[in-house]
Amino acid sequence: MDWFLQQLINGLALGAIYALIALGYTMVYGVLRFINFAHSDVLMLGAFAAFYITPKVAPSLGSQSLMTALVVIVFSAVICAIIGMTIEFLAYRPLRKRPRLTVLITAIGVSLFIEFAGQHEKIFGAATKPFPKLLPKTDFNWGELHFSSNDLVVLVLTALLLAAMWFIVQRTKIGMAMRAVSYNEQAAALMGVNVNAVISFTFALGSALAAIAGIFYAMRAPGIEPLMGVQPGLRAFIAAVLGGIGNLPGAALGGIVLGLLETFFGGMPGLSNYRDAIAFAILILILLFRPAGLLGKQQTEKV
């Protein structure tokens, strides 16, 4: 039972991070109908932004204080939001009317560009760097159960961010515009929605979430390096598809499910090496029975 609860906590903490990243994938997919491969690298840039900002603000706000963490997170999120909008403006906007596959390959190109540019020694360098401690970390022991305050902060913040996303998309004017563009871009434009602005906003939002997720991910990882986004990005991409791509609650659910699957199988003796394979196998099984994802709309084929 203790083992079960322990894995549950670890899985939820990991799944929350996946959920945050998956939200970005899903929102961009909602408005543009393509998978933004560069999303995982925006996550990496978010972690690096935090890496460079922390030493600047820590002396005045106190190291490992909640205030420092908040300032760092907000600044990194803003930087990544700007980067996300820039990527969309330079690489994706000129291709808006082109087949989706073209945009997909461009996204792969952008992703490779950020990764390789980041590995260049004049930018970040390929070596792993230790991530600064942002928050005072206390470990709680509850009988056999261990969890750190970081996990709790991540879980709470993720829940808040998910609620905020839901609010933005469902209850604000820009959210309504996002849904309109997602439903029918042309009709939305005819109704006076500034489609370009909405798409820029979506990229800003998604990239900000990626930056926050990147910081959380870096806090759990041994260090940060220019390729750190690839693995969580891939997982989150799967999570988004698992939940039904384009669907916000689906992305959150997919992230949690994937995080749980990964930790439960990773924790089982003898199976830990097969962790990734099992997660993928279960994903494939789920997709075989629900081809549009867990919460995706099943579309009937029309002639």
């Binding site: 997919y29 998978i35 690489a91 000129p94 291709l95 082109r98 087949p99 596959l101 073209t102 390959i105 461009t106 792969i108 190109g109 952008v110 490779l112 560009f113 990764e115 390789f116 540019a117 590995q119 260049h120 020694e121 891939l234 991409f237 799967i238 598809v241 791509i245 090496n273 097969y274 990734d276 394979a277 993928f280 196998a281 994903l283 494939i284 997709l287 075989l288 081809p291 549009a292 994802g293 084929e301 002639v303």
Partner: protein
């Protein structure tokens, strides 16, 4: 005219074998790149059957390549010593075929889910299969686990690589241009209309996956006996993406374009070796620029146009 194509095949194989005889005279480094080009042509042309002609979206081609590579390497590693030198080419051929056939079985396993899934969902499932295959090799002691297989005999020559590339091009081109093969293009253009015309999309999709995987397996075998070392990391999804980029740059469903793209994308990183530290940065920028300026593929002219 099938006759003309048969002559092309025979001529290409003869030329490959003849050039292979004198390949000792060439610089080893250049020869290695030329063999790489041949292997990549096989990979790109076989993926083109799945992604281009049939209009599916597979992101798991490196997985099939891994299956073929590992099995072929295992065959020559186990039986290589007990076979007389004169019979080595036959053993190599058998190894390649075994690798290709097992990869084809893997292709069948991936092709079956494609009955229900399309677009991004299919992409993710193929990606998942590719990763599963890689993890299986990475954990299996029999295949050397994380260190991979080493000490593989150098059996891939210029002749093998290019002759098999010619065979691949010939098989894919003749299948697609045959009466039967029009079905692939019909499935690509409109599945519902195709099935209304009595074409079974399921069968065509699975066939495309099986044939594509078979040749990817052959390419994997050639790769294993060219690089002499197999590591599971070499077959991750970045490798699959490389092959996808070749197909898209060449123009989906355009065999000649895809061959040219495979040649260019293999040589390009080598040409940029002089500016080693900026090599991959330039490579990725070129992909973006090409997509912005020639999204229909580098070598697509005429009205088939934006596929």
């Amino acid at each position: 005219m099938p006759g003309k194509e048969k002559w092309f095949l025979l001529l290409a194989i003869a030329a490959a074998v003849a050039l292979s005889m004198i390949s000792g005279a060439f610089n080893r480094y250049y020869l290695g790149i030329v063999i790489d080009v041949g292997i990549n042509i096989i990979l790109a042309v076989s993926l083109n059957l799945i992604n281009g002609h049939t209009g599916q979206f597979s992101l798991g081609h490196a997985g099939f390549m891994a299956v073929g590579g590992y099995l072929a390497a295992k065959v020559t590693l186990v039986w290589g010593a007990s076979v007389p030198p004169a019979a080595q080419p036959f053993l190599f051929l058998a190894a390649l075929l075994i690798g290709g056939l097992v990869a084809a079985v893997a292709g069948l396993a991936v092709g079956v889910p494609s009955l229900r899934l399309r677009g991004d969902y299919l992409a993710i499932v193929t990606l998942g299969f590719g990763e599963i295959i890689r993890v299986v090799f990475q954990t299996s002691e029999f295949f050397g686990a994380a260190t991979g297989l080493t000490g593989i005999a150098k059996l891939t020559t210029f002749g093998w690589a290019w002759a098999l590339a010619a065979v691949t091009v010939y098989v894919v081109a003749t299948i697609v241009n045959s009466t039967y093969g029009r079905g692939f293009i019909a499935v690509h253009d409109d599945e519902i209309a195709a099935s209304a015309m009595g074409i079974n999309p399921v069968r065509y999709k699975v066939t495309a996956f099986v044939i594509g995987a078979f040749f990817a397996g052959i390419a994997g075998g050639l790769y294993a006996h060219h690089k002499l070392v197999l590591k599971p990391d070499g077959f991750d999804f970045v490798k699959s993406i490389e092959i996808v980029v070749m197909v898209i740059l060449g123009g989906m469903g355009r065999t000649v374009g895809v061959i040219l793209a495979a040649i260019i994308l293999t040589i390009l990183p080598e040409l940029l070796r002089g500016v080693a530290e900026y090599r991959m940065i330039i490579y990725s920028l070129l992909i973006i620029l090409l997509m912005l300026t020639r999204p229909q593929g580098l070598f697509t002219f005429g009205k088939k146009g934006a596929a």
